[in-house]
């Protein structure tokens, strides 16, 4: 019948399964300036980006290694003029291609060209339900209006549309309006993901982190909407780590399902992994994706459960959450191999709760916008 794709839990080289997804960060350039941007604080310049041929070679190697899904991301992937060629190559290789876009750079003709080359799916980000709040969060005038026009073009092309919203203090009470908007835009899916606090979002945490009460209201509302809209609009909800008791199974395990390639060709097990300073990430210009996946020290460091210390090592949940998020452990404790402080079995959990309460009670300093176009 069917089986959810799975790789072995602990992964000796011989039993390591193939990756499923490739997140291709084509560029860090983006006209938006979101304060929770998931790109690293040190951004790759245009002249350092992999060229068209290099990206297509990465796609080919990824497919040969077993990758099925290609996420074309950034930055804003629409900033790359070779996007149609990249989409076309992905389709020819048999990859399922997903364009993750802010929707403000591609016009109707550009989108039509992508559809003609075989793009499978579009994921469009919105910042809020109303233009004024949305444009103030994204730091881009008229951005929201352009996004709404873009969503209509996506649907007119017959392409499936996911609306994605990063949730935080300023837009969390907007949820009913956001859900209505996704319905009006004829989206197939809605992804509501609480901001994760690494990189830019970590710098803006005191302006972004919602209170526990605000989160609880939002979560109850999403759960109700998921039931009510079950057949009209499936909703994926990524809960906020800081108020959780058990860590998420981050990336479904370190180097277990996904390879990220940055604009300059560095291969990572997760898009935030460069925040961990002592990992030496290999580059696709120097090594094959297969050797990176199987042999590189960076990909093997936190694979499976062998790297774990206590309290994870002997924990009954260790196979279930695989220790949570390494980047978060590093961001909060300075040590990537410690238990994710989100877990209430972690010795750092109480400190995290205190920190969350303090940040959520703060008045919210002005955003430090991420500017890089």
């Amino acid at each position: 019948m069917t089986a959810p794709e799975s790789a072995p839990k602990s992964a000796p080289k011989s039993a390591l399964g193939p990756p499923i997804g490739l997140l291709a960060e084509l560029t860090h350039r983006c006209p938006l300036q979101c304060p929770y941007c998931s790109n690293p604080q040190e951004l790759v310049r245009r002249g350092e980006e992999l060229d068209t041929a290099a990206w297509i070679e990465v796609f080919r190697q990824a497919r040969a290694l077993g990758v099925l899904q290609l996420h074309l991301s950034g930055g804003e992937p629409g900033a790359r003029s070779d996007l149609p060629a990249l989409v076309g190559a992905a389709r020819q290789l048999g990859l399922y291609s997903n364009l993750i876009t802010a929707g403000v750079l591609l016009d109707e003709a550009a989108l039509a060209a992508l559809a003609a080359r075989g793009l499978d799916h579009v994921q469009l980000s919105l910042q809020a339900a109303g233009a004024q709040t949305a444009d103030s969060i994204g730091g881009f005038r008229e951005g929201h209006a352009r996004k709404l026009a873009f969503a209509a073009w996506v649907r007119a092309q017959g392409l499936p549309l996911t609306i994605n919203v990063v949730l935080h203090r300023r837009n969390l009470d907007d949820l009913p309006a956001l859900i209505d908007l996704a319905l009006r835009l004829d989206a197939h899916r809605l992804e509501l993901a609480h901001s994760q606090y690494y990189g830019w979002a970590l710098r803006n945490r005191a302006a972004l982190l919602p209170s526990r009460a605000q989160v609880e209201r939002a979560t109850a509302l999403v759960e109700r909407a998921r039931r009510d809209l079950k057949d009209r609009l499936p909703i994926d909800y990524v809960t906020p780590d800081y108020y959780a008791r058990r860590p998420k199974r981050c990336m479904d395990g370190w180097a277990r399902r996904v390879i990220v390639v940055t604009p300059r060709g560095r291969a990572l097990p997760c898009h935030a992994a460069e925040t961990i300073p002592d990992l030496d990430f290999p580059n696709v210009r120097d090594s094959s994706l297969e050797s990176i996946w199987r042999e590189s020290e960076a990909f093997n460091r936190y694979r499976g459960t062998d790297w774990m210390r206590e309290p994870c090592r002997s924990c009954e949940f260790r196979e279930r959450d695989l220790g949570g998020c390494r980047c978060q452990a590093f961001a909060l404790t300075g040590e990537a191999a410690r238990a994710d402080p989100v877990c209430d079995l972690s010795p750092d959990h109480a400190a995290l709760q205190a920190l969350a309460a303090e940040a959520a009670a703060a008045d919210g300093p002005p955003y430090r916008y991420r500017r890089f176009a």
Binding site: E5, I20, A64
Partner: protein, 97 residues
Amino acid sequence: MALGEESRPRLQPFVRLQFDARRESWVLQAPERVLLLDESGKTILERCSGSVTVAEIVEGLAAEYDAPREVIAEDVMAVLGLLAERDLLLLDEESQP
């Protein structure tokens, strides 16, 4: 809408079914979702056109494979239930009797 014998299931438009030589398996792809399917899973899904009911799919397969209806029905409901749970199926039910 619950999955039942009167449902007329079809795959969501963004779902792609393809054979993956690397895994020697049929795979079902959708945003953030990949499912591996064996031959019988694939045979069931190929019949989910949105115009036939689950009951008709079951009867068709029972006749074609000369198998007891209840065995086939269990397989079909298992596969479709798993997909419906993951929001990969549309279940248009006909309003007329």
